[in-house]
């Protein structure tokens, strides 16, 4: 079976058991690819479980920079007996299986169309290490070492990574380096290295970093000046708060007193988490919480209060597969509608849709500015794929001379100077009133915040006309918001094309690649990426400029499509649905196949 040599284009999948230390070894492999200057995108596929169940780590390496998930496994590192049978079945024909050959594989496990690379991992461990605990851990380093040799990677890169990883536990370094070499040497002496799949150094990762969206949001919240973070643990958002705490512990402890310039509270539930955000924001602190679908449902009542009483709030919803408990460890973009209209009555909320960790960081700063400027909730919709997986992304940057926008807040002097002040008076005609922070002035600016109907002076009213005027002002504010939220990324606009693809969030990676696949088949599409809700004029104009729109979403009900139709009267026939909702990050092949299917069903002249 001689194969053409494929350089810097492959998918490696690690099949391991969760809780066995394989995660850090797998990460090391991805990081080594990154350090060799080759674009890489790793993804964890894990169970809702702590220890003992199968978990996979899938690494796509692609020097063209395609960072979406790709189906078809070229190399499987199969070290989980539990899932071995299925793991072997999942490798593409002609692919490689790396396995622990300490025990011989039964005939059931042999596929004629695969290459088998047996590394006696456990027996090497037994020979070289005494501590049984090390057997498990070193086994991981052995397969990493073997991969290094088999793919022709630079061993110095791995050695350096071991040094860095154990910088604080130096005595572990020699053992780990030894394990790396055991794997390398065994592979080199027993197999023809490198394989036809191989990696070569490139220089494509300049100014790029490898990190996850939850870390980026947590870090962003620190830079954005958030001082109060409340939360209730829920996968996949938990690591966002962990990141906030980690960075606060580093950069928010007063050097002279050792006291904290932040408060983090693990709430009793998501209702309380959002209540704390509103209390803190009402009192002039920047506050936020993070959650996932079930938490969003619980926060709905408070989100309505935020909208109606005009209290800033920042919420990160790291979406997972719903409905109900759904698949808690799988990704989805299925909270779009429930976030946009969360709560009873006429409510609408600002949504932001970052697609990379870099954008997570930047949009977190934007989220706090928008929330305070517009005195309303801002929901940042990420997802499990973006939040929990590492992504190759532009390094974090701060905008030049970036200043927090605290919005229309009356100081004591403003209150003294003002002829009249009413909490809900629309002085500027933009629908945005001026607020006061409790304790500002000894005799002016106090008011009663309430979720019941109120007049412009914040007094309770049951006068229907006064109530309706207030609701209309909120509508006016919404129009101001529309002009101020981040506009879309118009990825491609050629006036001669009359069809376009629209996507948002983590579908971006696959969508960009799908455009190239389609282009190669003579199908040229314009493209736009939605970054926020309400939809700005540019989005609507873009849609009107095309006959057909393919809207890519990771949910069943085409929620973004519904939102476009409801809010902007876009005819349903115009927007075709491209929907993946099986919980796995969407692939380019899926998108291009679906678009072609739709085209065949309803032949349209495409340019």
């Amino acid at each position: 079976m001689s194969q053409p040599v494929l350089i810097n284009d492959l998918v490696v999948r690690f099949a391991t058991v969760n809780g066995t230390g394989s995660a850090s070894a797998n990460n090391m492999f991805a990081k080594a690819v990154y350090r060799m200057g080759i674009p890489v995108t790793p993804k964890n596929i894990f169970p809702s479980n702590i220890q003992g169940l199968p978990t996979w780590y899938e690494v796509r390496i692609n020097e063209k920079g395609y960072l979406g998930r790709r189906d078809g496994i070229d190399i499987m590192v199969a070290v989980n007996a539990q899932s071995l049978k299925k793991d072997i079945e999942s490798v593409r024909s002609g692919g490689y299986l790396i396995y622990d050959s300490t025990k011989t594989l039964g005939e059931d496990f042999i596929r004629e169309d695969l290459h088998y690379i047996g590394i006696p991992m456990m027996s090497l461990c037994m020979q070289h290490y005494n501590d049984p605990r090390q057997h498990l851990l070193m086994k991981n380093m052995i397969y990493v070492g073997a991969l290094c040799a088999l793919l022709g990677m630079e061993k110095e890169v791995f050695e350096q990574l071991v040094q860095e990883q154990f910088a604080k536990k130096e005595k572990l370094i020699p053992g780990n380096i030894q394990a790396l070499h055991l794997g390398m040497n065994y592979a080199e002496s027993n197999f023809e290295c490198p394989l036809p799949y191989r990696l070569e150094r490139r220089n494509l990762n300049q100014n790029k970093i490898l990190t996850d969206g939850n870390n980026a949001c947590g870090l962003g919240a620190v830079f954005a000046g958030a001082t109060v973070g409340s939360w209730y643990p829920i996968t996949p958002s938990t690591s966002l708060m962990n990141a906030f705490e980690k960075w606060c512990t580093k950069y928010r402890i007063d050097a002279s007193t050792g006291r904290k310039n932040f408060a983090m509270i693990q709430a009793e539930d998501e209702l309380a988490a959002m209540g704390m955000v509103l209390g803190a924001s009402w009192n002039g602190a920047r506050a936020f919480t993070s959650t996932s679908g079930p938490g969003l449902s619980l926060m709905s009542e408070f989100l309505g209060l935020s909208y109606f009483a005009e209290i800033p709030a920042v919420l990160f919803d790291v979406q997972r597969s719903g409905p109900s408990t759904g698949m808690p460890t799988r990704t989805q973009q299925s909270d779009v509608l429930s976030a946009a209209y969360a709560s009873h009555g006429d409510t609408k909320h600002i949504l932001l849709f970052p697609s990379t960790p870099n954008e997570c960081f930047d949009m977190t700063l934007t989220a706090f500015d928008l929330a305070e400027f517009f005195q309303t909730a801002v929901i940042v919709l990420t997802d499990l794929d973006l939040g929990m997986n590492d992504h190759l992304t532009d390094a974090f940057t701060l905008r030049d001379n970036y200043q927090y926008n605290r919005g229309k807040v009356m100081t004591a002097k403003d209150l003294d100077d003002a002829k009249v002040w009413g909490r809900y008076l629309d002085i500027d005609g933009d629908g945005i009133p001026y607020r006061t922070i409790p304790g500002t002035h000894p005799s002016k600016g106090s008011f009663f915040t309430r979720g019941s109907s109120h007049d412009p002076m914040a007094a309770y009213t049951e006068d229907g006309d006064v109530y309706a005027d207030g609701m209309r002002r909120l509508e006016k504010k919404w129009e101001t918001i529309r002009s101020r939220v981040p506009g879309p990324e118009i990825v491609r606009f050629d006036p001669s094309h009359n069809e376009a693809i629209i996507y948002f969030g983590t579908s971006s990676y696959a969508a960009v690649e799908a455009m190239d696949i389609l282009q190669n088949q003579g199908i040229a599409l314009n493209a736009l990426r939605i970054k926020s809700f309400p939809f700005t004029e540019e989005i609507i104009e873009f849609i009107h400029a095309h006959d057909t729109i393919y809207l890519v979403e990771q949910n069943r009900d085409a929620q973004m499509r519904s939102l476009l139709m409801i809010e902007n009267a876009i005819p349903p026939s115009k927007i075709k649905k491209v929907l993946q909702f099986n919980g796995m990050p969407i692939t380019a092949q899926f998108i291009s196949d679906e678009i072609q299917k739709i085209m065949q069903q309803a032949p349209i002249h495409h340019s």
């Binding site: 350090r35 970093i209 830079f223 709430a267 209702l271 209390g279 803190a280």
Partner: protein
């Protein structure tokens, strides 16, 4: 109920220490039923804050939903108020307190708002020892929705329509003690002499101060057979002690306990003077407080007054080790790490 309140005040009424008249602590005219216990509690809050010379803008009043939660409109009109959502005032107050530790927080809730829909938030605010005075205006029923029994209605209590409540009533003071509340008291809306000093002490206490105030609902739960009526409460009240809150600066500075009077120093240099009435009870001894409460319950008495206080109370800010400067006053310079630091952070991911 009368809607016109004379604006005239006796010019001889004294101003308090910060030069404010009592009327500056009043709020809008109440829209509750005439004779509602809640209005008396509002009056006691006004009197307590006036006497303590609290600057109104340094106090934030928060509530949930219900008759009781309407009352913050009727007192301290110059203070910021927050009428939140049903049963969720504790979380809003927690967030507010986190943002600014320098304000005084007064939470007002009812028995439905606290013991039913808000039970989860109530117990967790106690657990965290949030620095707040939490007043429950407890009438054993849902007034705004026409008098349904609430979770604090005693088993056997008969409501206006003649139905007997079959379920155990939740004793908020007993629950508070069990959960580790650092200040627990019960009172009666009809006993301002007892209530006002309790409110003062609760506002002073650095931590969660619970005052469960029996506050009869004249419209739906003041009938014969109700255990939350004016008559029943008056007949069955048993006070632990007469108390007073004495500012430190006054005479009592180094008073030793004498006779039946016990002096409990509070953290802010004031003192609770307790004139002990109840035997076998020490407000500093939680076990004795729990025993006393259980005993009163067994005897169908309503134990009122100060029940327990922990003078070593550490509030949530202390437990979290947050800065003395209120978090809402920290500037961007303090809060935002530099671009240089961001550069260093990027290196960690390369």
């Amino acid at each position: 109920m009368t809607y016109a309140r004379p604006t005239f005040r006796n010019p001889d009424l004294p101003l308090n220490k910060i030069g404010r008249a009592r009327k500056e602590y009043e709020g809008a005219i109440s829209t509750l039923c005439a004779g509602c216990g809640h209005d008396s509690i509002s009056g006691a809050i006004i009197q307590a804050c006036y006497e303590m010379a609290i600057e109104p803008h340094r106090l934030a009043k928060l509530s949930g939903i219900g008759c009781s939660s309407k009352t913050p409109t009727y007192f301290l009109g110059q203070s910021h108020g927050f009428n939140s959502v049903h049963g969720r005032m504790p979380s809003v107050a927690t967030g507010a307190a986190m943002a600014n530790r320098d304000l005084i927080y007064l939470g007002v809730s009812g028995d439905g708002d606290t013991a039913s829909i808000g039970m989860g938030q109530f117990v967790h605010a106690i657990r965290r020892n949030l620095n707040i005075l939490y007043i429950v205006m407890n009438n054993g029923c849902y007034g705004l929705t026409k008098g349904q029994d609430s979770a604090t209605a005693d088993a056997g209590s008969i409501n206006k329509s003649g139905a007997e409540n079959q379920f155990q009533g939740i004793d908020l003071c007993g629950l508070g003690l069990e959960l580790g509340a650092t200040f627990v008291a019960r009172s009666f809306s009809g006993d301002k002499q007892q209530l006002i000093p309790l409110i003062k002490a609760g506002l002073t206490h650095p931590g969660f101060a619970l005052i469960d105030v029996v506050s009869p609902c004249v419209t739906f739960n003041n009938n014969a057979g109700s255990t939350k009526s004016y008559d029943y409460t008056r007949e069955h009240m048993e006070a632990t002690a007469a108390i007073d809150l004495v500012p430190y600066r006054e005479e009592i500075l180094h008073q030793q306990d004498k006779g039946t009077i016990k002096y409990i120093p509070l953290h802010d240099e004031s003192i609770i003077a307790v004139n002990k009435l109840a035997a076998d009870w020490d407000p500093l001894d939680k076990s004795s407080a729990m025993r006393k409460l259980a005993q009163a319950r067994n005897e169908h008495e309503i134990l009122t007054g100060l029940i327990y206080v922990d003078t070593q109370s550490k509030d949530l800010h202390t437990l979290l080790n947050t800065s003395d400067t209120p978090l809402n006053q920290l500037s961007q310079t303090v809060l935002m790490p530099s671009a240089e630091i961001l550069g260093k952070i990027n290196k960690l991911y390369q």
